[in-house]
């Protein structure tokens, strides 16, 4: 049986309410349009509570994705988010893993990206060890 080769990451520390620190599982990824050479390297958050993959609409703009040619939509959850769907290529440089994924570009997403269950999770084993503020990924 092959042993899993985990890569260790620190949770990123960001400022939170009341002078608190918030620890979030952020990783470097690249978002690429299916056509053209543009890429956007971002720090996206692994979010097991999100169904799909959600990025800020500014990323679509910088990749030259024409919003008018994309299917419009609204994401639900806590609050709602207007935006549009299209397919992009996602690269995870730490593992040389890349895959095509349908994503939702939200116009008022407060952060750059959320990596949810449908597209990101099937490519990795993921361990969250919050008590140590570490998380681990292994490509599958």
């Amino acid at each position: 049986m092959m042993r899993t080769r985990w890569k260790e990451y620190d949770y990123k520390i960001q400022a939170g309410p009341g002078m608190s620190w918030v620890h979030r599982p952020l990783i470097n990824i690249e978002v690429r349009a299916l056509e053209g050479n543009e890429k956007a390297p971002i720090l996206a958050m692994i979010d097991s509570g999100t169904d799909g993959t959600v990025f800020h609409a500014d990323i679509a703009q910088t990749l030259g994705i024409d919003e008018a040619r994309c299917k419009r939509g609204v994401l639900g959850g806590i609050g709602s988010l207007e935006g549009f769907y299209t397919e992009v290529k996602i690269v995870v440089p730490d593992f040389n893993v890349s895959f095509r994924a349908p994503v939702f570009f939200g116009k008022k997403l407060p952060m750059d990206g959320l990596l949810g269950q449908a597209a990101f999770f099937p490519h990795f084993k993921i361990r969250f060890e919050k008590h140590k503020n570490k998380f681990y990924l292994a490509a599958v």
Binding site: D10, Y11, K12, I13, Q14, A15, G16, P17, W21, V22, L26, N28, K39, A40, P41, I42, L43, M45, D47, G49, T50, D51, G52, V54, H56, D58, I59, Q61, T62, L75, G76, G77, I78, L81, F104, G106, L109, P110, M111, D112, L114, G116
Partner: protein, 67 residues
């Protein structure tokens, strides 16, 4: 490469709800702007040498889970 985990050392109140460009080691904030394309255009040929992040407000807790 050692990667900085403590973003509070380089990201401040003035960067909230803006795009920031960080070095790949996340140890230095290079520039920031309201719009990602404006920021990347400003960085010119070096734009892909940095990693970009949209900074959350620090006065809120967030629950994303767009399901």
């Amino acid at each position: 490469m050692k990667v900085n985990a403590d973003l509070t050392k380089i990201v401040g109140k003035e960067h909230e709800e803006k795009w920031v460009a960080l070095t790949k080691a996340h140890d230095r904030l290079v520039d920031f702007a309201d719009n990602l394309q404006v920021l990347r255009t400003r960085l010119g040929d070096k734009k892909n040498e940095y990693v970009y992040m949209r900074v959350l407000r620090s006065d809120r807790e967030y629950s994303f889970s767009y399901t």
